[in-house]
Symmetry: C2
Subunit: 447 residues, 2 copies
Amino acid sequence: MRTVIVGGDAAGMSAAGRVKRTLPDMEVVVLEQTRDVSYSACGMPYNIANPARDIDDLVVRKAEVFREKQGINLLTGYGVEAVDPGTQTVSGVTHEGNAFSFSYDRLLIATGASPVMPDIPGTDLPGVMALKRLDDGRSIKAFISQNRVKRVVILGMGYIGLEMCEALRALDIDVEMIKPGPVFLPWMDRDLARVVREEVEAEGVRLYPGSEAKEIKVSGNQLSVVCGKGTHTADMVLVAMGIRPNSREAAAAGVALGPSDSIAVDKTLQTSIPNIFSAGDCADAYHVVTGEKTWIPLALRANRAGWAAADNICGGKTVLEGVAGTAVFKVFHLEVARTGLTGEEAKRYGFEPAAVTIETRSRAHSHPGASTIYAHLVGDKKSGKLLGAQLVGREGAAHRINAAAVALHARMSVQDFSGTDLSYAPPFGPTWDPLLTAANQLSKNMR
Amino acid sequence: MRTVIVGGDAAGMSAAGRVKRTLPDMEVVVLEQTRDVSYSACGMPYNIANPARDIDDLVVRKAEVFREKQGINLLTGYGVEAVDPGTQTVSGVTHEGNAFSFSYDRLLIATGASPVMPDIPGTDLPGVMALKRLDDGRSIKAFISQNRVKRVVILGMGYIGLEMCEALRALDIDVEMIKPGPVFLPWMDRDLARVVREEVEAEGVRLYPGSEAKEIKVSGNQLSVVCGKGTHTADMVLVAMGIRPNSREAAAAGVALGPSDSIAVDKTLQTSIPNIFSAGDCADAYHVVTGEKTWIPLALRANRAGWAAADNICGGKTVLEGVAGTAVFKVFHLEVARTGLTGEEAKRYGFEPAAVTIETRSRAHSHPGASTIYAHLVGDKKSGKLLGAQLVGREGAAHRINAAAVALHARMSVQDFSGTDLSYAPPFGPTWDPLLTAANQLSKNMR
């Protein structure tokens, strides 16, 4: 029996290792189009921030280990171009230009996602970069040092853009951020988004929401981003406008697609075509709050889905209930966290949302070193259930969000959540955890 | 209608304020035997650690505010000695020696707890102190500065003892800790307890578990604690051997008692006698994992029970499901957290426990500043449910425990918990949160 895995990143390599451990006699072929496998993509901004670090220290496990220790036939530089479910074959061309094809008994599509590039002239100019693969990180790092970059324009204001703006400021690079939409962090509660915006601006970053890039031009070594409202010059332009699933080959093979053209999978990671599974940033998932399909490409889900797909490829039955949409990022001194639905999303899914935003301290009354922490909770007036949570603060936001995430998985009511026994000691929070203070208040509003 | 509240600390004052807000016409009398009300008792070790801080900065709200702004008849220096449920009267003697009595329509007993003192000669010597009330903190702080304390022996090795040993080391005071039982932190997983012990010893604290104090003697200004195995000299002896509920007056009035002689209350905080409620460290609670009564006196429960009792005193119906036993403390550079049952407790309650301890990193692969974090999970083989969790680490333990606490409230299985969508970003943890890594492994062990 042969399992072919297309894509050697988080989901693909997790699956490859697990298949081999479960069924050592299974032949496992991994086809990865780049040179790099198994690296911490999320760590790239932090690596870029520090010129002394080698980008390769993000590699978690080297290709040789997979090949020699785990017996996986890992082929890098293999770009898959077609899947034929009729003959159960994948085919493509190697980096060196040689055609290849492999038959499969089970196929896992773990092709990940690619950066969204704006459809404007100039995105192919030298110095216009996007960050997704390790090679992108390599190129950005090399470009910054070789060109002594002093000014960067970032297109986009999402997680990656904000993490990169922190990294660039650490290198003392001037940063401007531009995005077409008028609202900064539109998925956040307005009060919390304001706090994040103030933090970013306090670090000297200039934000231009509502500015659409029309063209990128070059003059000498100087790039300029032409917007409706003005022109921004820079030594480098970083495109961080989000990502889209790499699902083209799957779609061409007739595999059904889900939200945002991600590959539709059931709770066992099976696609619409027998013997074809999908996992990672290219695949969709069920949302535990709505029960509907969603596409939220994040690292934990990719790893977990890789394992679950492997179990099911090996004849087991591992079922993934879904995601709560828990996400966290750091920007300068702030921890920013969310899980579940925003009020807007809740409305869209037919809930009757009530929301509350509170502001409290990160440590107990009079405890030194405390800062302000903001909590936002969304509940459903009809069912009484908790629907989502957001936290922003200098400390204690990133891990705190998990209490709300578990409550979402458990379909807990706001009132039951407000009665949970959360930890308290003066260095770590007020007696009533910020989430509980918010839940107490929301509970009242929902009556 | 008159509500009398005995005890003006967390539970009592929370209740008093809430009754007054809900029913402004209700007469609310609070009888507090000390001078102090509404202060952050848990903050005392941190205040003692810093001679520049006034102990009174722990006061959250001054007595005048309750009296003048909230219309509460708050009487300090009023020590209640008897409750007569027949005539619905409480009586006692003031600090000045005057007898008093008050009739009540509703009575809330919120008398808190007192330090356990060893039954040995010498506990009444000057310099032998315990820490519970604000006045204790005042006395300890004054004693340390006036006597230029250089050596302290702490009797006990629980939360308070460990928090105080950190405080005393911050003052450059030599610390020895003694306790009769042979096991350091007996409620902890052995591996995690070892990590905490090593941290405490690395800070120069000498630990003597298995040493029972037989007598405390004085010679000049020098105290000595005589144990079976030797004698420890000190300028001050701190007794931190736990606390016991102040339930004597309630018991004398015929109120039924619960575990450890705490006052037994139902989920609405009613005692066995009509119109008498109890809340705070003196009262028991249901444990959400066992469904049985327990006595775990902690600040959040005291505040929450005060509010709930107030709601029910005012004719509402607020039901508290119970506690998960979530507790956290900081000792030197470590965060130590627990929730739910230990393996031993699980056995005692008829579960068939399986447990796992894992060691992982506090930040992502190759992220700078990472340290080791330890997670311990306990599950029930029979039902598959999660029963308890413990975490120890330099960062990320205190708030992480809450995810497990919520899972306990939701009666979640270990497998469902292992499938929850917890947050991930490189500065805050590995892709798989330590709790998830532990749950994955425990889930396998439970099959």
